[in-house]
Symmetry: C2
Subunit: 175 residues, 2 copies
């Protein structure tokens, strides 16, 4: 009886291993998909999450927007972000405003200038499709709407994964 | 006959002067109203016009939002702005992000921090009500929603009136 039980258990175990391996292979195939290839429609009408300014090589000023799912999650403090959440960032050159400075009588004002090389970036939440990169697919587009090369996009998650306590999202909501 | 014509003309002229003076006095009374006393409801859900960064005494990073009337006018290049247009700006302290800089390995990232003393500002288009200040009423509020003193608000239009070719609005729309 003991022997029969052992074989039954062993068979179930190996069946499980085979099943797991097949499933892992399936996930591994899906994992290839870590990039978003289309600009999410209507993004320019989305609500504001926050703003930021990058110096260094970027020298841009940026707005971070969210679709309704992302904004609701931000406002409710819901983590991880729900499926379908999309966070977008639009960047512009950080340029001094001669017009403003002249009126104010001081050199203090910087505004949004031209689009930089990578004008738009998005994170799209789909836990299955983008399982390999924390459930987020990444994308960037130039001002003509051309997507960035995969070699660049592979650099997204290695940085984002540092933000473990906010579901890999850098930007906090600014009330 | 010439004399009668003269008197008729003179009477008409003086009647006109009296009418104009009365009308000017009426406008002058309305002109007192140059301030907006309430935070426009729902402003945090408005669409983005642009972003900016002020150094000097302000040291803030800001988002400029517009209600639907303002956004439509901006996108269509419609000037002057139609009645009911409202433009709002939210400011936050321009602060370095230690979290971002640590991940990027460079000190380059600035984000939105706490609310500065004058957290919110608005321009509300009502050509009759705010005739004395270019058709725009001005407002600012602290983070508790307390409106700014009239002495401060009197300083708005003297600067805004420099922007004659864009209906007294500093911020341009960033696509």
């Amino acid at each position: 009886m003991k022997r029969i039980t052992f074989w039954l258990a062993a068979t179930a175990f190996f069946a499980g291993v085979v099943g797991f391996t097949a499933s892992a292979r399936h996930v591994a195939e899906e994992d290839q998909e870590i990039f978003v290839k289309q600009i999410p429609p209507g993004y320019r009408d989305w609500k504001l999450v926050s703003v930021a300014h990058e110096e260094g090589e970027l020298k841009d000023i940026r707005a971070i927007l969210g679709n309704d799912i992302a904004i609701a999650a931000y406002r409710e403090g819901k983590l991880p972000f729900p499926e379908g959440a999309i966070i977008g960032r639009i960047a512009w050159r950080h340029v001094p405003s001669d017009e403003n400075n002249k009126v104010f009588g001081r050199a203090q004002s910087f505004v949004a200038g031209e689009a930089p090389p990578w004008y738009l970036q998005f994170m799209v939440k789909d836990s299955k499709k983008y399982a390999a990169t924390g459930g987020w697919g990444y994308a960037q587009f130039d001002k003509e709407g051309k997507p960035g090369p995969e070699s660049d996009l592979k650099k997204c998650f290695p940085c984002h994964q540092a933000i473990t306590d906010r579901d890999f999202v850098f930007t906090r909501y600014s009330p």
